[in-house]
């Protein structure tokens, strides 16, 4: 065998603490090595060129590159080797950057370790065999989880691109947080007016299958061939018959149910349609409050329904769908301000969240767009906005910036002055983060044109003025600091709006486990690379869109949704995908059919095949196997080997290392 070795300097990343020339010189002494050199940047065009030229000129059978992590450039070098006519698996990489140069400054010992790693790579390469990828069919369908603005955008883009879309939404209607907003910054255009037509498109698109009141129970399979199990919770209404006329809502006697679409500031009925623009516009019963389910009485809705759609005996339905790719677009939830005792901890009715205020501002909201204090329905004249409630706050374990609160606070302050011209709006802020297009100008407009008083400081306490000032007082005292003046300030407010920060959607970590993707300490899904792979995850075929990855405003969510759709369209534009040949292989002669591998495989990639004589043998489903190697170490007779990581290859590496140990210690 003829092996070539290239030791990379990686500029100064490796060369500063490793003697690369010495490593190359040592490599020349290893068995089968006919050529070894060092290079400033092995991954550069000249570096790859040298590799290709040397393979051709010296008729090499395999190449070792000692450089960075395989996660970084293994694919790069495999392609280079392939261009020169070798099989891409006749290549080994020794990581002398992350595993050597970056972790120690001891040049002598670093060089020794780098030589050891190269020796191991050479020894493994001597046992490498050419491997060939197989190709498999893909499902040209995509699953999108969550139908807020990101999920809607991704669904429409994928459907327009010719893919069938399975759109799953937990709530009864699609629309997400955006459907609750009144206006959007920085243009102050009506939120549901721009979202509504997109929602209708989703409802009508022939390529989109919509599952609302549904959740993903399980996802199995792999890129190109996922199988998803979806639980459709029953609305106790036959949605094929239901016309959304609303007759049942008018007659339902349970009228004290907090309305979740209105963030609990109004009540609704036990059978309900979430909002006028809901898609699908169908009634659903909440069995936790419905008198028929809680007390076994009533049944009014069934009597009044002109379409005879109500059916109390309906059961949850479980459906399975086959898809080729998945987009997670599960969005966000809001910080629960009851954790903040200084703002009343939810005890004062006139301290409300920004989203509750948004519903109040909305013409289709419970107050028809009139701003009213929840306590007495009066029109507030002094409204105080407090930023960063549950954002940038380590004491409540929310150290991150929620990204969009500065902007919606400015918008709400503008709308306050718009709705009630003789009102005063105050904003307590720490920093104003207005980095989007037209955002800074928007905040300045709030300050200059709408005379919103911004106060640089935080609020430490809110307490009711009443009973100190008599029943007519009924105001809240907001005590904060103006850090620019260095004084305490107090405002007697009629209404306090808390700019609550964003949290990951509840249940997000559990979904991430099902999708086998990573998530951070706060439940936000992790992208594959923060800069260069922002919509991919570490599970091939699963993509991210919107605020499930990090708090995002509407433009950013829509942009990421279209990006994810583009990625899915590119992936599924191919009729066949290539599988990784680094998978488990069974030697049928050795297999004793014990079935341990089948039980231990986390991907269900091994099944037992029965021979004609009744004996059993393990069999690997090549497209399902992920190459993790668990079966290989479980097998009691070493009948399963992981291609490219066989026992002989790994032992060759271990032997190489032990030989060095024996030589240097003399023991």
């Amino acid at each position: 065998m003829r092996i070539g070795v290239m030791v990379c300097h990686c500029g100064n990343n490796i060369a500063a603490t490793v003697d690369c020339e010495a490593v190359a010189a040592a490599a020349r002494e290893f068995p089968d090595v006919v050529f070894a050199t060092d290079h400033m940047y092995a991954c550069s065009d000249p570096g790859q060129g040298t590799i290709e030229k040397t393979i051709r000129e010296l008729k090499l059978d395999g190449v070792v590159v000692a450089s960075c992590s395989p996660r970084m450039h293994e694919v790069t070098f495999r392609r280079a080797v392939e261009r020169a006519g070798l099989n891409r698996y006749m290549f080994e990489m020794a990581n002398i950057r992350e595993h050597v140069a970056w972790i120690s400054l001891d040049r002598k010992r670093n060089t020794e370790k780098a030589i050891d790693l190269v020796r191991m790579a050479v020894e493994k390469l001597r046992y490498d065999r050419p491997l060939t990828a197989k190709s498999f069919e893909v499902q040209k369908r995509v699953l999108i989880i969550g139908a807020g603005v990101a999920g809607i955008q991704a669904a429409l883009d994928c459907a327009e691109g010719g893919l069938d879309v399975v759109l799953v939404e937990r709530k009864a209607s699609i629309g997400g947080v955006m459907s609750k907003l009144d206006k959007t910054f920085p243009t102050i255009d009506c939120s549901v007016c721009v979202l509504g037509p997109k929602m209708v498109d989703v409802g009508q698109h022939p390529r989109i299958t919509l599952h609302t009141l549904s959740e993903v129970e399980e996802l199995s399979g792999y890129v190109g061939n996922f199988e998803v199990t979806i639980r459709k919770k029953t609305p106790y209404v036959d949605w094929v018959k239901c016309t959304g006329c609303g007759a049942c809502l008018e007659k339902c006697p349970s009228r004290k149910v907090p309305d979740s679409h209105n963030e609990g500031i109004s009540t609704t009925t036990a059978i309900t349609i979430p909002f006028p623009q809901a898609i699908p516009k169908r009634a659903a019963i909440d069995p936790t409050v419905c008198l028929h389910f809680t007390k076994g009485t009533c049944g009014v809705c069934k009597k009044v329904c002109p379409a005879d759609a109500i059916d109390y005996d309906l059961k949850d339905e479980v459906v399975t769908e086959k898809v080729g790719a998945v987009i997670a677009a599960t969005g966000l939830d809001l910080f629960d301000h009851r954790k903040c005792g200084e703002y009343g901890g939810g005890r004062y009715p006139d301290v409300i969240t920004s989203l509750q205020y948004e519903r109040m501002l909305s013409a289709s909201g419970p107050t028809n767009g009139h701003i009213q204090r929840p306590s007495d329905g009066a029109e507030p004249k002094t409204v105080v906005f407090i930023s960063c409630v549950g954002s940038r706050d380590r004491s409540v374990d929310r150290p991150y910036c929620s990204n969009f609160c500065c902007m919606y606070t400015a918008k709400q302050a503008i709308l306050t002055r718009d709705h009630i011209p003789d009102s005063r709006a105050y904003v307590f802020y720490m920093d104003i983060r207005a980095t989007g297009k037209g955002y800074e100008e928007f905040v300045r407009r709030a300050q200059e044109e709408y005379e919103v008083q911004y106060i640089r400081g935080r609020v430490a306490q809110i307490y009711p003025l009443y009973p100190l000032a008599g029943p007519e007082g009924n105001q809240l005292v907001v005590r904060g600091a103006d850090t620019l003046l260095g004084v305490q300030v107090e405002i007697k407010a009629d209404l306090v709006v808390l700019a609550v920060g964003a949290e990951s959607a509840h249940g997000a970590p559990a979904l991430a486990e099902k999708l086998r993707i990573s998530y951070d300490a706060y439940g936000f899904f992790l992208e594959s690379h923060p800069k260069l792979r922002p919509v991919e995850t570490n599970t091939v075929g699963v993509f991210l869109a919107g605020a499930c990855q990090a708090p995002k405003d509407i433009p950013a969510s829509v942009a990421q949704a279209s990006a994810a759709a583009g990625k899915v369209l590119a992936l599924l534009s191919k009729d066949k995908l290539e599988s990784d040949p680094q998978i488990a292989q069974v030697q049928a002669m050795r297999c004793i059919g014990c079935g341990k591998c089948e039980r231990t495989c986390p991907f269900g990639a091994i099944r037992m095949r029965e021979l004609r004589d009744g004996a059993k043998r393990a069999e690997v489903v090549e497209t399902v196997c992920q190459g993790c190697g668990i079966c290989s170490v479980t097998c009691p007779v070493r009948a399963i080997q992981l291609a490219h990581f066989t026992d002989s290859q790994l032992l060759a590496e271990v032997n190489a290392l032990c030989r060095t140990w024996t030589e240097t210690t003399g023991s």
Binding site: S395, M430, R456, Q461, A481, V487
Partner: protein, 233 residues
């Protein structure tokens, strides 16, 4: 009259070792303060402070040692811990104020002399009797603070209601000795501590400012962070 303030030459004015000393003595990461003003907003004494709490933190961040150690705010702090409770960065602000008070003592600063005098008198009383002797403390503090009659009006009503004893009510059994042992241990620690890091403070500060108000002028040496033992009985 307006006194023009020249621009602060940060490169020369700041004392990085001061910031490090406050950080290590308090165990708090001062760099994590982002000046939101929550401490000032919630502080009961902000109206009385010469420097609001968040600016005390800012002065420490910038290492402006003399300005911090000579301010009145650190002596007026009641250690109610509202700032600590509410700080969004989990900084124990009250602890930082406490550390600054100790540093100011060692540096000979005590702009609120009465606060310091009271603390000294209180501890001296405890050291001597094993528990505070209120009547003695009141008398000593009245004399030392230069306002001998300030609490005199309260004496008779408290005596008649049995709220004040004229004889020290010392702990029984081993109690007094155990308290004395605590003071001895603290004094030993303070001596070592002074030897380790406070000579600089003493030398730089020169004559203690607070001594002008105290009849016995032996306060404000490095050792003085430990309680004195005479209580003027």
């Amino acid at each position: 009259m307006h006194i023009p303030t020249p621009p602060l030459d940060l490169e020369h004015a700041r004392d990085a070792s001061f910031q490090a000393a406050v950080a290590s003595e308090s165990g708090q990461c001062l760099a994590s303060c982002y000046q939101c003003g929550m401490c000032t907003a919630g502080c009961a004494y902000t109206p009385d402070y010469d420097v609001p709490v968040h600016q005390v933190m800012r002065l420490v961040q910038l290492g402006l040692r003399e300005q911090v150690l000579s301010c009145r705010a650190i002596w007026l702090c009641a250690s109610c811990q509202a700032c600590t409770t509410r700080c969004p960065n989990n900084i124990d602000v009250a602890r930082v104020m406490d550390v600054l008070r100790h540093m100011a003592r060692r540096a000979g600063h005590a702009p609120e002399a009465n606060v310091k005098t009271f603390a000294d008198s209180f501890l001296a009383s405890v050291a001597r009797h094993g528990r505070v002797f209120e009547a003695g403390l009141a008398a000593v503090f009245a004399i030392k603070s230069g306002r001998p009659m300030q609490d005199a009006g309260l004496g008779l009503p408290m005596l008649t209601r049995g709220k004040l004893a004229l004889i020290p009510h010392e702990p029984t059994g081993n109690g007094k000795a155990e308290v004395a042992a605590i003071f001895a241990r603290f004094n030993r620690f303070a001596d070592q501590g002074a030897g380790r890091h406070s000579h600089d403070d003493v030398q730089r500060s020169g004559t203690p400012k607070a001594s002008a108000n105290t009849p016995k002028a032996r306060s404000d040496t490095a050792k003085d962070s430990a309680p004195t033992t005479e209580d003027g009985q």
